[in-house]
Subunit: 211 residues, 2 copies
DNA sequence: TAGCTATCCGACTTGTTGGTCGGTTTTAAC
DNA sequence: GTTAAAACCGACCAACAAGTCGGATAGCTA
């Protein structure tokens, strides 16, 4: 098993530096040699572990991106507290890493979608799958919120989900150069404003108390 | 002047096909030869008119992108009708061209920002300038709305502007592959919902009647 | 110690890129 | 028709890309 461990360690090292460079410079604008140079590894090592540059990217998406999106955007809103609070905090945290110029996976998703859309259907399949899961999670969180009496029963859960995803993806693009911190603050304020407009108007007890 | 006309015609032809290809495949992923092939022109013609590929792009942005963004996203909201109606209609129209898979300049902006961010400061300067103008226009439209009594006086105009830009940029990314028409519809519904939450609550006459 | 295999090396091939340059054609003025 | 500038041609170059391949090395097993 020692051999397997070494293999995994090397591949993981390759993937993290690869992802960082893809994030910084884009996939098509990053050469395999660029990655190898940063790792002090050779072409041989790369093509020993991966079939091609694209295979490398697919494994990065499956191993790193999917998992990170899960931990940053999916799991935080799966709790049973007030849905709107959960989403607010989740976005707050995700955008905070962005303010500090760290690699943030929500934006990475946006980057990749723009780069591969209409050019590489294979990769797009993976990216769309991630988006789909995010959307589904949001929809059920909102429905849970309606059920628990935190969200008005008349709101369209799918609509809210699409609107939330849109605004999140968009604010990340707007935060890349100009006043990220100020823009984040303004964005979060308006998000709360929007949430106020869809939260339950009545002071009724939540639905689940009737059980 | 006949010579100048021919020059302009050729350059314009180059720019429109260039922009289309950049939109479809990205800037770095489109070679000068790709463009020339589509135009049935030669390298010589290209470098006779432009200093470099980057110079070519800058001229495209200045000649085509800026003007189109103006006519699609800026001018439509500069009228004196109800601001929220103007913005709603403007987004509605802009997203409709997107549904039909036409080259839409709001999305192009998003594409370019993602492609050049952190890689080409010269180009980013131009793109940020366009965003700035869009933001300023939105802010003053909202302030006009407050003044005219269509929008609640307590809302933060800058915040609303950032939120609107975010959501617009984001929905365009989400519309690229999955159910663009349905997503547009849901997005617009929620936008209206959000607008309801910031519109003037009272039935007071607008401010300007006191003059 | 010998041998086997997983890992890694780096020169190489093949193709593409942005850009150059000497030359040819087109155009308009005289 | 002559001429000169404007517009265009396309072979060419150096740099760089992804991917190949014969060989080196290191660590484990017998």
């Amino acid at each position: 098993m020692e051999k397997t461990l070494k293999r995994m360690a090397t591949m993981h090292r390759m993937q993290t530096t690869g992802l960082n460079l893809f994030y910084k410079n884009g996939y098509y604008n990053t050469s395999v040699d660029d990655i190898l140079k940063e790792l002090s590894l050779s072409k041989g090592a790369f093509y020993y572990h991966y079939d091609s540059k694209e295979d490398f990217l697919v494994q990065i998406i499956e191993q790193l991106v999917v998992r990170k999106v899960y931990s940053m955007l999916i799991e935080p809103i799966e709790g049973h507290e007030n849905t709107l609070d959960l989403i607010t905090n989740c976005f707050e945290d995700a955008l905070e890493t962005a303010v500090h110029n760290e690699l943030d996976y929500g934006f990475l998703l946006n980057n990749f979608i723009n780069e591969f859309n209409g050019r590489n259907p294979e990769i797009m399949k993976h990216l769309n799958e991630i988006l789909r899961i995010w959307e589904v999670t949001l929809v059920s969180a909102i429905q849970r919120g309606k059920f628990n009496g935190h969200i008005d029963r008349h709101v369209d859960a799918e609509g809210v989900a699409v609107y939330l995803m849109s605004s999140f993806i968009g604010i990340r693009t707007l935060m890349v150069e100009t006043a990220p911190s100020a823009r984040k603050y303004r964005f979060m304020s308006q998000l709360r404003q929007y949430f106020k407009s869809i939260e339950s108007k009545s002071e009724n007890q939540p639905n689940n108390t009737i059980y």
